[in-house]
Point group: C2
Chain length 281, copies 2
Amino acid sequence: MTIENLSQAKVFGGWHKQYQHTSSALNCSMRFAIYLPPEASADNPVPVLYWLSGLTCTDENFMQKAGAFRAAAKLGIAIVAPDTSPRGEGVPDDPEGAYDFGLGAGFYVNATQTPWNKHYQMYSYIVEELPKLVEEHFPVTGSRSISGHSMGGHGALTIGLKNSERYRSISAFSPISNPMNCPWGQKALSHYLGNNTEQWKQYDSVELLKSAQATLPILVDQGEDDGFLQEQLKPELLLAAAESSGSDVKLRMQPGYDHSYFFIQSFIDDHLRFHAGFLKD
Amino acid sequence: MTIENLSQAKVFGGWHKQYQHTSSALNCSMRFAIYLPPEASADNPVPVLYWLSGLTCTDENFMQKAGAFRAAAKLGIAIVAPDTSPRGEGVPDDPEGAYDFGLGAGFYVNATQTPWNKHYQMYSYIVEELPKLVEEHFPVTGSRSISGHSMGGHGALTIGLKNSERYRSISAFSPISNPMNCPWGQKALSHYLGNNTEQWKQYDSVELLKSAQATLPILVDQGEDDGFLQEQLKPELLLAAAESSGSDVKLRMQPGYDHSYFFIQSFIDDHLRFHAGFLKD
C-alpha cells in the first residue's frame, strides 16, 4: 500500500500532514490527515486517536478548527482524520446533492444496496484498511482509540462498540445516538442498507449498547443548545441503553454550547486526556 | 451607531459573536467578530486585543483556526477580528480578481486614489471607527493591544507604531515588514496611494521604526520555512530599523514553521500572555 504526501506543516513542534492513497475498500482515491506529536519516531512510536468527522466534512475540518494539537503534542498522541465518504469520479451522490447523504455522508457503514455498495464501505475502511496503512507508514503503536462528532460520533461509538479488541477507549461529541430513530439516520440507513431495519441495528449505538457485554470506557459531550439535539441526536437514549446493560458511558450535558467546532475546541483537551489514560497504559 | 448580531456560539465559557454594521469610514456594510471571555460583564469590563488578518481572510479565519480562546478566556481578554477590506456591491476589486489587491486586501491604509478612495479607508476604520463601536456596545475597557498576520501583521505594526497612545502593545506573525520593498506591498501601495513613494512611508513598518521615538513593546514571530519569507516579509529589516532607533522589537525566528494558521496556533498563547502583561497593568 503506497501513500502520497500532499502537504505538511509544523504545529506545536509536531507535524500535520495530508496523504492520498488508493483505497481498496472504497474503490477510489482517498485523502487523510495525520498529526504526529514531536516525540513520535521509529524508536518511540506513539498511540493513535482516530477522529471521525460529521456531515459535509473532509479530513480538514477537525485538523483546522478543533485546536487539538497543543494537548496531543503534550500527551504524545497521534491523531488521524479520514474523509467522511468515498470521493471522486464515479462515486454516486445524493440525486439532489443533499448534504446529509452520499458525498460527505458515508455514515461509517458498509452499504449493501446498489449503486452505493461499490464505494460506500466506510466501516471497513475505518476499521481495517486505514489503521493498517497508518501502522505501516508512520511511527505509531497498535494502541488505538476512536472519537468523532455528530455523524462521526455515531461512527466512533458503533465502531468502538463492535471492535472492543481493536480500541482502548471511545468518545464522542454530539453523536447521532440512535440513527434508526432520527431523520438523518433513517435516510442514510434505508439507502445504504435497504428497508429491512434488522440490518440497521448493527450500526445503531443504542441498539449495540442494549446488548453490550463489557464495553470500552465511553465519554460523550453534548451541548444543551445544539439545534439538532431533540430531533437527530438523542443522547439520553444512549444513557438509558447503557444503564440497561451496565455499560460504562459518561454523558456530560454542557449548558449553552451548540453543534459547532467552537463547542468541540472547548472540550477536546478533556477527550485527549481521557483517551491518553487508556492509550498509554 | 447600531450593530446587528449575526451569530453566537459559546466557546471556553465565553462567547464568539459576529456582527454587521454600516461603516461610515468604509461606506459599506461590514462584518466583524468578537470573543468575549467568561468574566466580561458591565461590572467587569475587559481589555481588547484587535486582530488583523492577512490576504483573502474575513473575520472568520483567525476565530476558527487560531485556537486562541482557551488562553483568552483564562487571561480575561476580548478579541476583535474585523474583515480585511470593504465589501459589497459597488466596492471595486482588482480588475483581474487577484488575491493580493482589492477585496480581502485592504492593506490597512487610507486610499487616496480613485476609484479606491471611496471605500478603501481601512486605516481609519481600524484605528477609530471600530474601537468606538466596540467600546460603545460591549463590556470592554479602553485598554487595547493589536496583533495580526502577514498583511495584518503589517497593519498591526504600522497602526500600533503610529498610535502609541491608543494601544498598549503590538505583536505580529509573519508580517509584511517593508511593503515599499516587496511585490505585495508595491502593488497595493501604488494603487491605493499613487506613485509618490514618499506617501508610502507612513504605512511602512521599517520606515516608521527608523524614525520612531519611544515605541510600544513589539513581539514578532516568523516561521523559517515560510515560503513568503525572502520575497515578501523580510523581518530582518524590522530588526535593523528597530536597532537604529533603539526600539523595543523582539523577533523570534521559529525553525520549521510555515505561513499557515498551524504556525499561528502554535504560538498564539505566547502573544496573548505578552499582551496581557501590558493590557492588565
